[in-house]
Amino acid sequence: MKESLREIYTGLSSLITGLGITLRQFFKPVVTVQYPHESLKMPARFRGHIELVRDPATGKPLCYACKLCEKACPTDCITVEGLKRDGEKRKSVSEYHLDFTRCSLCGSCVEACKSGAIRFSKEYNLAGTSKEEFILDLFRRLEREGK
């Protein structure tokens, strides 16, 4: 009998402390970020989908279509086409497609790239209505950015 009475007592006191804790939380400020109105700044090393890097001097993409990234990618997401424009020593990129539906953001391509021509972008809200929208054309995107 004494045992069950003590158990009832400890039980009730544990309920009361539980209520006390949630009440204290009730009056504390909100911790959540109200997303559409406020949004967080992504850290420096954040891994969004990759993007081409522009050569600061000439303004053209650094990539010369050596296809190292294409070979390094585990899921074959990258297809690169390059052509040798006259008046230039090396090839330069003309087509750069990234199939973001299969990319696992592992960074093997960025590491494999010798000339630092691709890096992670800070994009994270990528809503789309069809799968084709996620076959990203990075070359076109770089040009559009250029404008």
């Binding site: 309920l15 939380q25 090393r45 585990p74 696992s104 960074g107």
Partner: protein
């Protein structure tokens, strides 16, 4: 009728019906299906049906080079992705005899332990949700957010990190990370006391967990269950102590185990493990040595010597072992991923005999299953 009478009742007498718990069910936390043969609300026989999220990682491993399989390892058990990559990277280093610099080993221990705490916090929230308490989930996820921000600052990812490389880690840890980790340890300790007051000592929770679904150490051994499940049955089996790897022998931490083997014991093991992980992180951050984070002589094309190599780590759910059979080519011949959730779930059929539905849900939650971990 008490549980034992349910099982004892002769076959003919019971009118049973089959209830499908899953694959679409809040209590299974993933696409696991439990075919429960029930008599009223007692479970006569439970048969887990798996395979709904089977992606065949082992076949993928057989047509990818070692470096290309790295992203897969963090997608087997996405809640303790760091430890799973640690196992695969460790196996390759063990076979190729790569020397990992001490700073990289310390960083691996810190990030693995942070990952373990974040995995236990997800378990705590989801388990309380199974038992009907909604609020602790939000508090646990609030704490976990701090860990994810820390790891995101260093690795760039929040869940499936691709941070370890053969021979070290891909980029170094900055001062903000070490300071942030120290702040997190100081912040988390009082939070653990808050969870003890709000949840562990709560009489309703104790009535839900104490003495429910006891599992003996012998059953754990027979089914190969490891991690908090076997530590909840009194066996202090921890891969970090049994097969020491990385820099774990340099840190002192206890392996919590409780003899009762019921849901409460497994719950207390995980809560205590979070405190132990905090101790490890604290020691590791204090003694973080200087130096490179990447081994120098890592061959560009990695070929493992022919034969077998096995490497086991203590993941959040238990012993994760990678067994690579290689035939001296850059693509492995066969990779076996021994996942803890598969063995932990295999004892569910025996442990849930005669339980009531709410207790079966409590048992399922106490096993802390990640379904892709079972199906691979």
């Amino acid at each position: 009728m008490s549980p034992s009478e349910v099982i004892a009742a002769p076959e003919g007498q019971r009118e049973t019906f089959v209830l499908n718990l899953g694959p679409q069910h809040p209590a299974t936390h993933g696409v696991l299906r439990l075919k429960l043969t029930m008599d009223g609300e007692f479970i006569v026989r439970a048969e887990p049906v798996c395979g709904y999220i089977h992606r065949m990682h082992e076949k993928m491993a057989e047509n990818r080079s070692y470096a290309q399989f790295l992203p897969n390892t963090s997608r087997i058990d996405y809640l303790s992705a760091m430890t799973y990559t640690h196992a695969f990277v460790g196996a390759v280093e063990r076979a190729a005899k790569l020397e990992v610099p001490p700073r990289a080993e310390f960083i691996r221990v810190i990030t693995s332990e942070l990952n373990r705490i974040s995995s236990h916090l997800v378990w705590l929230g989801a388990y309380l949700l199974d038992l009907g308490g909604f609020t602790p989930l939000l508090y646990a996820f609030d704490d976990r957010e701090k860990i994810l921000d820390l790891l995101e600052g260093v690795t760039g990812a929040r869940l499936t990190y691709c941070y370890y490389r053969f021979g070290g880690v891909c980029n170094d840890v900055d001062e903000a990370f070490t300071r942030g980790t120290k702040e997190f340890v100081a912040y988390m300790r009082p939070r653990l006391d808050m969870y003890r007051a709000l949840v562990t000592d709560n009489i309703i929770l104790r009535k839900r967990l104490v003495g429910i679904a006891p599992i003996s150490a012998e059953t754990c051994r027979k089914y190969g269950a490891t991690g908090p499940v076997i530590r909840g049955s009194g066996v202090a089996y921890d891969v970090r102590r049994r097969e020491p790897y990385s820099a774990y022998p340099l840190f002192d931490f206890e392996v919590p185990n409780f003899p009762e083997g019921d849901c409460m014991a497994r719950y207390l093991v995980r809560m205590e493990e979070m405190a132990q992980s905090l101790r490890i992180i604290e020691q590791a951050v204090d003694r973080l040595p200087e130096g490179p984070v990447m081994a120098t002589a890592v061959p560009r094309v990695l070929k493992l010597p022919a034969g077998d190599v096995a490497y086991a780590v203590e993941a959040a759910r238990g012993r994760f072992m990678v067994h690579i059979v290689s035939d001296n080519k850059e693509i492995p011949y066969r990779v076996k991923l021994r996942t803890p959730s598969l063995s932990n779930l295999s004892l569910f059929e025996e442990a849930s005999q005669g339980l009531v539905l709410p207790d079966a849900v409590a048992l399922l939650g106490s096993l802390d299953l990640v379904i892709p971990d079972i199906d691979r």
